[in-house]
Symmetry: C2
Subunit: 407 residues, 2 copies
């Protein structure tokens, strides 16, 4: 598969880019600050969609996560998504479940759809009931705008943000047999960002013609190495959700011929959104790519990468531009992986710090220079086997602590 | 067993308190700052001791840890301990192992002991060779002072500190059959503090008459609920070591009659030192006791406590005096334990925040008051079984990040 066959737009478009998808965002004042902040959004497709989702594996799941899972399991077609930020509708008991169902129904009615086939997503504060009256009032005109043809990627993208500082959208396009397939994406991240999802929502839409089971396979493959391979603070949230909707309006079938191109397009969209999430982590200053090789097996490679990427001492040293390989050695030592402490190579970008566990101190000025950059990589070869893993992590700053010390 | 049968001195005495134990501390300028900071210490017993140790389970082990493990496995008697701070002698290869052996030999020679039977401990920076010349020069007079009868608990205690702000010593004494048994302890902690040891050293001496195997059983029991049940930053170090030495000079045998009292005395010493370590964590402002009950099994109870105690979002909220039970629910949800999200009780001290997962918002002012204290407890009942776990954790502050951003 030729990656160049995909036209990738890194900061353009979004969920309303594929043919037949519409989107709008508005304000329901979920945060009760009367600041007109965008906090409610609707995505709509006139043609009902095949759909797939990947969700948090946190045992405490928010009501909208349960609603999405139940709707996808019922195997009906999906008309769209209704989402809000500012309140996660998590730990809200029976009332929370009723509220999620009511949001779905309100979106269906606003779009003139007879059955309740809207997926629901919420993100924000845990443990408080949604302000349903203003939410329902807001969903109605947004649904009507979507039906009327609104393709407002920007206001929809903004409506799902919480502590994010940037709107996160992208689009991948490819041609096949003279027809064009578009994959549009939109995400939010910022805090509670750790493997197996985060306080993150990501919505991906496409006009390819596919079955839900096919979408599920494609989405799971893409998520594994993108959304599930980033960490900001190691906290896995109650609401993490990635959704993929396909309405078939391109007239291109997802089949043996188109499969590789479509997978690559979805991969690129997920990779771009995942990178935007980690790069916009709360008050971070650096994105570090941790590349483990030579591990005994993939589980070991992942454990090593995560031990490093979640170590407070490692993350604070990155923040301080300190190439502290001793803290890397300490973290990989407790990763519960097969390790020979005498056969480890560590590189900062391409500059060796340790070769077969022997320091290369003459390179220290170069390590220091590399660690001072806003993006760099740490490559570690364990010499235990052939397994590899790639994790993108952020540093930890005083700003993160200050930002999170109260809500 | 009557706890009151133990006379406990929380901030007095130390490793030289039991009969026949001697100690001294001096400066070898390990940190090369020419500031005369105490950084080298010797503990000595004229009568060779039975001994036991508990060590880091980090796969990357420092040279002195390997030296101690090997010496204890050889089942010889032990004459004492030689320790330094400022340099961990970790990730130092073959030279590091030679240096650890040379420290042991130097202490033996200084004390006039013919065989090399001194345990060695180092703590501090990883990846640099020890300044052996000045260390060996410093060990000699310290050994001689110990042989001459020095019982300098204070200078020995200070010599092992790194980023600690306080000397950590205590003593437990009990009487049996008209004879007195003393257990003295000394520790250092501060950073890389997480379960299964930390960048922590703890030395416990006693004049009871015991076999090494007996000491091992007593020490492992005591460590499990004390040193292994604290967390500051979740980083487990390469050097963590707890040693217990017994020289028999009290003429009290460790047997069925004395066993319970001795175990309790060692428990109290370990508990006091562990508490001092977490309370003196790097730039912390709070110590929080996490008490899990009603878990399906002990592993689950421990996983839940650790998920909460190591969550950055939970720790920063404590720092900000924010009783954010939503973050507690989020953390326990990813603890990989058996959980029913609808049957959870959460208390701040004795004030309920959640009962069967239903918030008790009228108590909010009280939670806020409790979380603002320098010490408080969080009690969580999972209603899944009978298992319990207790973990002491600290908050996370901007000061921690600032302190650790470079060495």
């Amino acid at each position: 598969m030729d990656k160049a066959a995909i036209t990738f737009q890194d900061v353009e478009g979004g969920v309303a880019s594929p043919i037949g998808f519409y989107a709008a965002g508005g304000s329901a004042d979920v945060r009760k600050k009367s600041d007109k902040r965008l906090d409610t959004g609707v995505v709509y497709s006139l043609i009902p969609c095949a759909a797939a989702g990947v969700f948090t594996i946190n045992a405490v799941k928010a009501a909208p996560v349960l609603q999405c899972q139940s709707l996808l399991e019922s195997e009906g077609r999906i008309h769209g998504i209704v989402a809000n930020s500012g309140n996660a509708n998590a730990c809200t008991g029976a009332q929370g479940k009723e509220d999620a169902a009511a949001m779905s129904l309100a979106a269906s009615q606003a779009c003139g759809v007879t059955d309740s086939s809207f997926l629901v997503c919420s993100t924000g504060r845990i443990g408080e009931l949604l302000p349903m009256e203003s939410l329902l009032e807001t969903i109605k005109p947004l649904g009507e705008a979507a039906v009327a043809g609104a393709k407002d990627n920007e206001s929809f993208g903004k409506s799902i943000l919480t502590s994010d500082t940037k709107n996160k959208v992208c689009t991948a396009i490819f041609e096949i047999d003279g027809k064009t397939v578009t994959v549009g994406g939109c995400a939010k991240g910022a805090g509670m960002i750790e493997p197996n999802m985060a306080t993150m929502l990501a919505f991906i839409t496409t006009d390819i013609d596919a079955e839900s089971e096919q979408l599920k396979t494609v989405l799971q493959k893409a998520v594994k190495t993108t959304f599930n391979a980033i960490t900001v603070d190691g906290d896995m949230s109650t609401n993490d959700t990635v959704l993929l909707l396909a309405n078939g309006e391109s007239d291109v079938l997802l089949n043996a011929e188109s499969e590789a191109l479509f997978q690559e397009a979805v991969n690129q969209v997920c990779d771009s959104l995942a990178d935007k999430i980690v790069a916009d982590g709360e008050r971070i200053t650096k994105v570090v790519e941790i590349l483990i090789s030579g591990a005994a097996n993939e589980g070991d490679a992942e454990n090593i990468a995560r031990a490093i990427g979640n170590s407070l001492l490692v993350k604070t040293s990155w923040y301080g531009n300190d190439p502290n390989w001793g803290r890397l050695m300490d973290a990989l030592g407790y990763a519960k992986a097969k390790i020979d402490q005498d056969t480890i190579d560590i590189f900062y970008d391409d500059v060796p710090a340790l070769e077969m566990s022997t320091p290369v101190p003459e390179n220290k000025p170069k390590w220091k220079e590399i660690v001072s950059k806003p993006r760099f990589s740490i490559r570690i070869n364990m010499h235990q086997g052939d397994a590899t893993y790639r994790l993108r992590a952020s540093d930890l700053t005083e700003g993160y602590v200050d930002f999170n010390k109260s809500e």
